[in-house]
Symmetry: C2
Subunit: 464 residues, 2 copies
């Protein structure tokens, strides 16, 4: 048992002072005591953190390898970059990426996430095979590299092996650029089983699946994937994530194929409930918005990526007004900063509606606190892990803000979170704990130098 | 003369390697040599910077004191039209703000700007008088504090004393909340003359004026302000900035008063040309868009503030397509990061048009480079100072990126700027020079500790 003592903390019941969080050997929170005094000798079961403790945020959508491409699809002129040329560039890069490279890129990415305040990530992992589409000898090689990177960085992980079969709506054959992603039922089951064994021993990890999109799977495949997952994790309702309605062209293609819009089709053909996370539920009709909100599923929003790719704006007021749950993901990793995701989710709605404090939580909490708490709850649900709150039974995943940061001087209560979320610039995140272990100190990942050196070697090798 | 040597630099003709920038004793660039070798002894007239040199960016719109309020307008609940709760907090704060407090807040803000890559600021300064509206004994006391803060931080400054007379369109009397802002003609002239004398000795500073808005001035006052400025700075075409069309309610009120939209009214009643900067030219008709583009004036865009306040989106494609000039400002300082301003200016248009690379410069430059270069040119024009390019005759205002930053590994040419602008997270700005003097080293302002300590003392004193 270790006791972490914080000057101030955001608990489920609200802000509290002089908070002792007792963490068991398993990394879960055993007790939380407020108005306490630090007990025990520093270094021997007691750690005094001068700072403000927030629940760590789960990043509900990541494609780790895309981090290496961030900023490389901004060409202009004739043949200027679009969503679809970006996808071509991504496919070309992917053709060279090997297991070691993926692991190095992912470890550096996860260290960046931790420094920014994400304590867990849902890795939507589709890069299964070798460059020519041949499976690695260990079919789960690439998935295992993602998990190894998470262990290296010390971030919590929900690993979502991707089920990918078709090249487009209606069961078209996959194209050459997609050959590293595609599995038949047996191949997918082999990956899932191997990963399930690995993760079983890791209290900071969980298993789910990700049918890639309505272009890549059909209703039978979704059902087969769910059944395979439930055989490995019976009774858990382990997470199912899917890309759903990112680009308008995709919505139009879905309507042309099925007569239904993507979310409408999915709600009709799959048992969408609280275990589901619909990534990029961007383009929703009013009926889809209400239906999704009522389903209990999480809308997986990725504001910086969705802006970079020109996707569109999610109808957040109508959705949250109907009780809809949501969280954020950094997706293509053009930005790794939960504060930027949250404020621009809110800002997008302000700009669309010429209003302020749109996603407001009510009289008892500010906009910044509303956004952080909702994203923590949605992130935890989408990750299928007991995170997102500083409370007994949850993982001790905690982000500590520096009260000496000049902008926080004189700030108290919700104004701390409003300043944290809405005021851009250098992050005041000073310490980060995952499962009670310190992974960020003085704003820097404990293994930053080694992780960055490995990344640099990888990028130079891949560029050569 | 000092020689600054850079591994790589963005010059007006494009990217160059092994660049020596020779800076005169006056802080202006004397020569630029490419393909050079470092000459002279380090420390004695030669400084070798391992890094990538970009022209520093001019921040064309700042209200320094608002930095202390950043993040304090996000309360929700009933009355979540939190403009009113924010106004109460702002009045309480402003009522206590004294000259020493303003200087401390401004110095810390300007240090933040320098670390982020802004090397100059246009300070739109309206907080002239004491809390009860009585002018200070030295009427220019508060303006001088802004300049003193700029000297402390070492940032270039264009000081724009604000001309503020009326409370609303049509010459309504100013309200109590505006009493610290208002001057008669003599009072304004006294401030302007005092500031003009101060700035005359500072090669890193320039003078302009800011008629506050069409609510606060009329055509005669604008003309009188211009004449007063031109008497002090004859033949220079010194800058004139004005808030113009930020909120839709403001546009409606202007039409109700005059039968004209704000930009339309201004173009008819003032000689809008290249010396003008129209701040928040957000709401433009097609005719206004083209007219403003043809005028040669700069559109002063503040994407993070305009998003925070729910103002709306500037029609950037149509405006730049017609050759319109623009720059960015951090305005209320909810964020101090030129990269966030630039990428979200572009992202706003991507989201509105479901497209990518919207503000693209053509086949010879990427989107990131287009944005940085355009904002540098517009910022220099709006500041009325020879900045914004690494070229002979310009000030030696230079931002140096860390080539060791992990994200920049393997990046070259325009991809450097695309990564810098579009990839969020910790800034790779390592060194910053203003007028040839180093003000940021290893990413940190040279006087950060002292400046932050003064800020903390001020915030604690004002909160007490």
């Amino acid at each position: 048992m270790i006791n972490l003592f914080f000057d101030q903390a955001l608990l489920p019941a609200g802000w509290a002072r002089d908070v002792t969080v007792s963490v068991g050997a398993d990394g879960a929170i055993a007790h939380v005591e407020t108005g306490s005094t630090p007990v025990g000798d520093p270094g021997e079961g007691m750690r005094r953190c001068h700072g403000i403790a927030l629940p760590g945020l789960g990043n509900l959508h990541s494609h780790a390898h895309q981090r290496a491409l961030a900023g490389l699809a901004e060409r202009s002129g004739p043949g200027r970059d679009s969503f679809w040329t970006w996808r071509e560039a991504m496919y070309r890069f992917v053709a060279r990426l090997d297991p070691e490279g993926l692991e190095a890129i992912a470890a550096a990415l996860y260290a960046d996430m931790l420094e920014a305040g994400y304590t867990a990530v849902a890795e939507f992992h589709y890069l299964h095979h070798g460059p020519d589409g041949t499976p690695y000898e260990d079919r789960a090689e690439m998935a295992r590299r993602c998990h190894a990177a998470a262990r290296t960085a010390g971030i919590g992980m929900t690993l979502l092996p991707v089920l990918y079969r078709h090249g487009d709506f209606g069961g078209a054959a996959p194209g050459e650029g997609q050959r590293r992603f595609v599995n038949d039922a047996e191949g997918f089951a082999a990956i899932l089983e191997a990963v399930a064994r690995d993760l079983a021993d890791d209290p900071d990890a969980a298993l789910g699946i990700a049918p890639h999109s309505l272009r890549a799977v059909d209703a039978d495949l979704i059902e087969a994937g769910r059944a395979a997952l439930d055989r490995l994790r019976p009774g858990e309702g382990a997470p199912i994530h899917i890309h759903v309605a990112e680009q308008r062209r995709e919505v139009d293609a879905c309507v042309a194929w099925s007569g239904r819009r993507p979310v409408e089709w999915l709600m009709e053909h799959a048992p969408v409930d609280a275990r589901w996370c619909l990534i990029h539920a961007t383009h929703l009709s009013e009926a889809e918005t209400l239906g999704l909100a009522k389903s209990g599923a999480v809308a997986g929003l990725c504001p910086t990526t969705e802006a970079n790719l020109g996707d569109g704006l999610f109808p957040a007021e109508a959705y949250t007004g109907a009780g809809g749950r949501w969280g954020v993901g950094s997706d293509s990793h053009v930005s790794i900063d939960p504060r930027e995701e949250l404020r621009w989710l809110e800002y997008g709605r302000r700009l669309a509606g010429h209003a302020r404090t749109v996603l407001a939580g009510g009289p008892d909490r500010s906009t910044g606190r509303t956004l952080w708490e909702a994203a923590c709850a949605g992130g935890a649900q989408a990750c299928g892990r007991p995170i997102g709150a500083i409370a007994p039974g949850r993982r001790a995943d905690i982000v500590v803000l520096d009260p000496e940061a000049s902008l926080l001087a004189g700030r108290d209560g919700d104004a701390i979170l409003d300043t944290f979320v809405f005021v851009g610039g250098p992050s005041p995140v000073r310490e980060v704990f995952v499962g009670g272990r310190g992974v960020v100190e003085s704003g820097r990942h404990r293994d930053r130098a080694a992780i960055d050196a490995a990344l640099r070697r990888t990028l130079e090798r891949l560029a050569a």
